[in-house]
C-alpha cells in the first residue's frame, strides 16, 4: 500500500514538473513531429489506404515519444554512471540472441516471455554511450592505445550483430561508435589511416559475408543484369523515384506501390513511394528537414558542458544521417540494398522507438546543459 502510494506520488510529481518546466528543445521536437506526421501520411498512401498499419505505427510512435519524454528527464550524469552496466547487459543479450535467438533466416529476436525485442536496437544507444564513457575522462584527442580499446568496444557488439546476420544494424552501430571517436578529435591523418585500412580490409570482409549479402553487393553493381530476380527491388525503386518527376504524381497516386510493383513499399522502400508521389520538391523538403534535425542535434551537443554529453549527443545526431544516406542511397541505386529504414518514415516499431529514445537522450543533454557534471 505504501509502495503504491509512493509510486503514485512520484508519477504525479513527474508530470507536474514536466508540465511546469518541460525543458524540451522545441525546434528539435517540432522537426521530429513533422517527420513522424509525414511518415504516417505516406504510410496511409503506400499501404493502400489501410488504417490498421497507420494505427499500429501511431501506437509505436506514441510509445517512442513516451520513452523520449522519460529519457529527457534523466540527467546525463546518471546515464553516464550506468553506461558500463548498460553496455555489458546489451552485449550479454546479444550473446544470448546468438545462442537462443529466433527469427526467420536471421536470429535477431529474443523472446522474454512477455515481449519480444531485438537487443541490437539497444546497442544503437549502448555503444556510443560506452565509447563516450570510455573517452570522456581521457585527454583528447585520443591516443593509439585508447583508440585500440575503443575499437574493441565497437567491434564486439558490431560483430555479434553482423553475425545474426543483420549487416545494416551492424553498420549503424559501428558507425555510431566511430562518430564518437571522430568527434573526440582524432587527427585527420589518423582518420585517413583508419579509413584506408578499412578499405584494404574490405576484400577480407567479402570472404566472411553470407551469400545473400554478397548478392546484394553484386546486384548493386549491376541491377539490370537480373531484372526479375535480385535486381527487381532496385529497378522498381528507381522507376518509382524517377517517374515521380519534378512535382510528383500526387498524394495517393503512386502506381508503383498501388499496383504492387515495388516490394517492401511500406518499410524499407517507403521513401521511393514518397518520391513518386511528391517528386523532387518533396524530397528536397524532407532532406532539408533531416539536415535541420541533425544540425539542431549538433548544436545541442556543442552547447553541452561535459565531454560525455557532447560526444554522445554528437554521435546520436550524426548517426541519424547515416540512416538517411543509406536508405536514400539504396532506393536511388547509389548504394547496395541494406536493410536500413528511412528514419521515422518507414513502417516498423523497433527502429522508431530506439531512434526516439536517442533523441530523448539528446533532450536530456539539452535540458541539463547548464549543469556541469562532477567528474565520475
Amino acid at each position: 500500500m505504501i509502495l503504491s502510494e509512493r509510486i503514485a506520488y512520484e508519477v504525479r510529481r513527474f508530470f507536474a514538473r514536466l508540465l511546469k518546466r518541460p525543458r524540451l528543445d522545441l525546434p528539435l521536437l517540432g522537426g521530429l513531429l513533422a517527420l513522424c506526421l509525414i511518415g504516417l501520411a505516406v504510410l496511409y498512401s503506400a499501404g493502400g489506404g489501410s488504417t490498421t498499419q497507420v494505427l499500429n505505427q501511431s501506437a509505436r510512435l506514441a510509445l517512442g515519444f513516451a520513452v523520449f519524454v522519460l529519457l529527457s528527464r534523466v540527467p546525463p550524469a546518471i546515464l553516464r554512471d550506468w553506461t558500463p552496466w548498460f553496455y555489458a547487459g546489451t552485449v550479454a543479450l546479444l550473446v544470448a540472441v546468438a545462442l537462443f535467438g529466433e527469427g526467420r533466416g536471421a536470429h535477431r529476436w529474443l523472446d522474454l516471455g512477455v515481449l519480444r525485442f531485438q537487443p541490437s536496437e539497444l546497442a544503437k544507444l549502448a555503444l556510443p554511450m560506452m565509447v563516450a564513457w570510455q573517452l570522456h575522462a581521457r585527454v583528447l584527442p585520443p591516443t593509439w592505445s585508447t583508440l585500440a580499446m575503443s575499437a574493441v568496444l565497437i567491434a564486439v557488439p558490431a560483430l555479434l550483430i553482423a553475425e545474426q546476420p543483420d549487416l545494416g544494424t551492424a553498420l549503424l552501430v559501428a558507425i555510431s561508435g566511430a562518430f564518437v571517436i571522430f568527434l573526440a578529435g582524432l587527427s585527420w591523418p589518423r582518420i585517413g589511416l583508419v579509413v584506408g585500412a578499412a578499405a584494404a580490409a574490405a576484400p577480407i570482409g567479402w570472404q566472411f559475408m553470407h551469400e545473400y549479402q554478397r548478392n546484394r553487393v553484386r546486384m548493386f553493381l549491376d541491377p539490370e543484369a537480373d531484372p526479375l530476380g535480385n535486381g527487381w527491388n532496385i529497378i522498381q525503386a528507381k522507376i518509382a523515384v524517377g517517374s515521380g518527376g519534378f512535382a510528383g504524381k500526387g498524394y495517393g497516386m503512386s502506381t508503383q506501390a498501388k499496383l504492387d510493383f515495388l516490394p517492401e513499399h511500406t518499410t524499407d522502400f517507403i521513401f521511393a513511394v514518397f518520391s513518386e508521389e511528391f517528386g523532387v520538391i518533396g524530397v528536397a523538403v524532407v532532406i532539408a528537414l533531416y539536415i535541420f534535425i541533425i544540425g539542431r542535434g549538433l548544436m545541442i551537443a556543442a552547447d553541452a558542458r561535459d565531454t560525455y554529453s557532447r560526444l554522445l549527443a554528437g554521435s546520436i545526431a550524426m548517426t541519424f544521417f547515416v540512416y538517411v544516406m543509406v536508405n536514400g542511397g539504396m532506393i536511388t541505386g547509389l548504394m547496395p540494398v541494406v536493410g536500413v529504414p528511412m528514419p521515422l518514415i518507414s513502417y516498423g516499431g523497433t527502429s522508431a522507438v530506439s531512434l526516439l529514445a536517442g533523441f530523448g537522450v539528446l533532450q536530456s543533454i539539452h535540458a541539463h546543459r547548464r549543469h556541469a557534471l562532477t567528474p565520475s
Binding site: 583528447l140 523515384v241 517517374s243 532532406i287 547509389l334
Partner: protein
C-alpha cells in the same frame, strides 16, 4: 607527430581546448553531412528530373499491358446466301481458382448440377497449370440451355464459378460440306511456328482445312486491343483505351447448297465423289466426297476415340475423293480422244472402223476386247461414242501415238492440278514416254498406247480434273480454272467479287468437230443405241454424257465379268460425265461411284439426278 604534442606525462584535460576541438569537429561533421545529403538530393534530381522521361516510360510499361481482342471470324455462305459456317453463341463454365476455397470439392459438387466427365476434369487440371490463379479456367464447354438454367438457379452456392458466353464456329450442314468448307481447329505448335504472332494475338482457332484454310487471311479479321492497367501479378484492374476488333470478311462461295445436297443424296449412301461446274465461268456448284464427316467434331479438339474411328472407317471419310481421289478415266476419256482425232486430222466425222469384238496389234499376241461380244460392226465416231466402241479408240490411240495423245489431253488439264482454290489437290497422271522412262526406267510399250485409248493403264484423273476437262469441252474449248470463291464482303462494304479467274482461249480449230463429239455424247443419253439411253429417257432437256468403267478386276480370259461374284470393294469404279443442256451447257458434272460396277448403270442415274436438281424447276437463281 609526437613532437607537436605535449609529452604524455604532461597531458592533462583541458576543458576549453576540448570544447573548441569538439565544436570544430561538429562543424566539420555537419559540413560533410550536408555535402553528402546534397549529393543524395542531386541523385534524386538526376533520376526525377533529368531522367524522368525514361523512368516515366518504364513506369507506364510496368502498369499498362496490351490485351488483344480477337475479332469474330467472317462467315461462309453459299451462292444463294445460305450460311455454311456460322459463329454461334455458346456458354462455358469457368472456375477462378483464386476465388474458390476448395477446388476439388467444388468440382465434385458441380457434378450434381451438370454432367462433368473425367475427361473434362483432366482438361481442367491441365489448363489450370497454364493459367494464372486469378484467370478463369474453363471447366465445361458447350453447356446446354438446361444446364445453363439449372446452374443459374444454384449460382449462389458456387462462388468463383461462372457461366461465360463465347462465340464458336458451327457448321450447320455437318458432313454435307466438310470437304469444301473444311473446319477450324485450335492453334497447335506447328501453326504457332509459321504464324505471325501479331496477327494472331489472342486467337485460339485457325482454319485447318478446306475454305477455312484457303481463305484464312480473308476470314480472319483484324484483332483489336485493350490497354489495361495491371498490377505486378498481371491482374487487369481497369481498361484505359480500347481499339475494337474488326470482323473478318464474309466469304460467298460458288457452291449451291441445294445442289450439293441433291448430289450427295443421289449417291444413296454409296462412297464416291462428284464435281459440278458451270462451264461458262468455272464456278464450282457442287463438290461432294462421300462419305463425309462432321467438321463440328474438330473445332474444339476431337477425342482420340472419335478420331481413330474416322481414320479407320472402311471408306475413309476424311479422304477428299473429289480433290485427291485418283481414278482411271475409263471410257469417259473417249469424247476427248475423239476430238483429238478430228482436230489433228486423223479422222473425219465419217471415218469408220470395223469392230469385231477383238483388237490385235501386228506382231503381238495380246487381244484387246470390245465390251460387246462379237463387236459393234462398222462404226463412225458418233456411234463409237454412243455405243462406247473400244476398237474405234484402240485404233485411234495407236494412230495418235502416246506422244500426241498425251499432248492433246494435257490441253484439257489432265495430268496437272486444275488450280481450284482448295488445298491438297492431287495432280492425277497423264502418262508419256518420258514419264515412264523416268519413273519406271522402262520404255513405252505399244500395248500401253492401246489401252490409253479407252482411258486405262497408267492414266489417272481426279474427279475435279475430269469435271474441269468436261467443262472445257462443254464451253467449246475455253478452259476456266474451277473455283469456289464467288465474292468477299466486309461487315461494312458492298460485296467484292473474287478476282477474275484465269481462263485460256479455245484451242479448238473447227467448231464442227465439237458438234460431232457433242452429238455422240447426246446419243449416249438419247440415241437408239446409247449406252445410257435408259437414264436419258424422259428428260425435258438434252444431255450430253459418257459413262466410264474403270477396272479393278482384270480379266485374265474371255469370261464375262460377273458383278455378283466379285466382292464389293473389288468391283469396278463407275464413272460418268455429263453436261446439259447440250446446246447451251449450264452445268458439267463428273462423278465416280466407287465399286459401282458399271458407269452406265450405277453412275448415270446419279448424274441425271444432279442435272435434274439443277436444271428443272424450281430453277436456281443465278447471279
Amino acid at each position: 607527430m609526437l613532437r607537436s604534442r605535449p609529452a604524455l606525462s604532461r597531458r592533462i584535460k583541458d576543458g576549453a581546448h576540448e570544447t573548441l576541438l569538439f565544436r570544430r569537429r561538429a562543424l566539420a561533421g555537419f559540413t560533410i553531412i550536408a555535402c553528402c545529403l546534397a549529393v543524395l538530393l542531386g541523385r534524386f534530381f538526376q533520376l526525377q528530373v533529368l531522367r524522368h522521361d525514361e523512368f516515366n516510360a518504364r513506369s507506364d510499361a510496368n502498369r499498362i499491358k496490351i490485351r488483344p481482342l480477337p475479332p469474330a471470324r467472317g462467315l461462309i455462305y453459299d451462292r444463294n446466301g445460305v450460311v455454311l459456317a456460322d459463329n454461334v453463341p455458346q456458354y462455358r463454365l469457368e472456375l477462378t481458382p483464386e476465388q474458390v476455397d476448395d477446388v476439388d470439392a467444388t468440382l465434385q459438387r458441380l457434378r450434381a448440377v451438370l454432367s462433368l466427365s473425367d475427361e473434362d476434369i483432366e482438361r481442367f487440371r491441365e489448363l489450370r497449370r497454364l493459367k494464372r490463379n486469378f484467370d478463369g479456367v474453363p471447366v465445361r464447354l458447350q453447356l446446354s440451355e438446361t444446364e445453363v438454367a439449372s446452374f443459374a438457379v444454384q449460382r449462389h452456392l458456387f462462388p468463383g464459378v461462372e457461366i461465360v458466353p463465347y462465340l464458336t464456329r458451327s457448321y450447320p450442314h455437318r458432313e454435307l460440306l466438310a470437304h469444301v468448307v473444311g473446319y477450324v481447329g485450335r492453334i497447335d505448335e506447328g501453326d504457332r511456328e509459321r504464324l505471325d504472332p501479331a496477327r494472331y494475338a489472342g486467337f485460339s482457332h485457325i482454319g485447318k482445312t478446306g475454305i477455312e484454310r484457303q481463305y484464312e487471311d480473308v476470314l480472319l479479321g483484324q484483332p483489336g486491343y485493350e490497354q489495361v492497367e495491371t498490377d505486378a501479378q498481371g491482374r487487369a484492374l481497369r481498361v484505359l483505351h480500347r481499339v475494337p476488333p474488326r470482323q473478318g470478311s464474309h466469304v460467298r462461295l460458288t457452291i449451291d447448297a441445294r445442289l450439293q445436297e441433291a448430289t450427295a443424296k443421289a449417291f444413296d449412301g454409296r462412297p464416291g465423289a462428284a464435281v459440278a461446274i458451270d462451264p461458262r465461268n468455272g464456278e464450282v456448284l457442287a463438290l461432294v466426297s462421300l462419305p463425309g464427316f462432321d467438321p463440328n467434331l474438330f473445332i474444339n479438339g476431337i477425342s482420340r476415340k472419335q478420331y481413330a474411328a474416322l481414320l479407320n472407317a472402311v471408306y475413309r471419310p476424311l479422304f477428299n475423293r473429289a480433290l485427291q481421289g485418283g481414278y482411271e478415266p475409263g471410257s469417259t476419256a473417249k469424247p476427248f480422244l475423239g476430238l483429238a482425232g478430228l482436230e489433228l486430222g486423223l479422222r473425219t466425222a465419217n471415218s469408220t472402223v470395223v469392230s469385231t469384238g477383238q483388237f490385235r496389234l501386228e506382231g503381238a499376241s495380246h487381244v484387246w476386247r470390245d465390251w460387246k461380244r462379237g463387236g459393234h460392226g462398222r462404226v463412225n465416231l458418233h456411234e463409237a461414242i454412243a455405243q462406247s466402241v473400244n476398237s474405234y479408240f484402240y485404233q485411234l490411240a495407236v494412230d495418235l501415238g502416246i506422244d500426241r495423245l498425251a499432248d492433246y489431253m494435257s490441253r484439257f488439264g489432265f495430268g496437272r492440278p486444275t488450280g481450284i482454290d482448295l488445298q491438297g489437290e492431287a495432280s492425277g497422271l497423264l502418262p508419256s514416254r518420258e514419264w515412264k522412262l523416268r519413273v519406271h526406267q522402262k520404255p513405252w510399250y505399244p500395248g500401253e498406247t492401246v489401252i490409253a485409248g479407252i482411258g486405262q493403264g497408267y492414266w489417272i484423273v481426279t474427279p475435279v480434273q475430269l469435271a474441269s476437262a468436261l467443262a472445257t469441252l462443254a464451253s467449246d474449248g475455253v478452259r476456266h480454272v474451277p473455283h469456289l470463291l464467288l465474292s468477299t464482303q466486309t461487315a461494312r462494304d458492298a460485296p467484292r467479287p473474287a478476282a477474275i479467274h484465269a481462263s485460256t482461249p479455245s484451242f479448238v480449230r473447227d467448231r464442227a468437230n465439237l458438234v460431232t463429239v457433242r452429238d455422240g455424247m447426246v446419243a449416249v443419253m438419247h440415241g437408239p443405241t446409247g449406252t445410257a439411253r435408259a437414264v436419258g429417257a424422259g428428260s425435258t432437256y438434252r444431255i450430253a454424257g459418257k459413262s466410264g468403267t474403270a477396272q479393278r478386276y482384270t480379266r485374265k480370259d474371255a469370261s464375262e465379268y460377273d458383278e455378283k461374284r466379285v466382292a464389293e470393294h473389288l468391283r469396278h469404279q463407275a464413272l460418268f460425265v455429263a453436261y446439259a443442256p447440250a446446246e447451251a451447257p449450264r452445268l458439267a458434272v463428273a462423278l465416280v461411284v466407287e465399286h459401282g460396277s458399271s458407269g452406265s448403270k450405277a453412275a448415270a442415274p446419279v448424274a441425271r439426278a444432279i442435272l435434274d436438281a439443277y436444271l428443272l424447276p424450281p430453277p436456281a437463281p443465278m447471279p
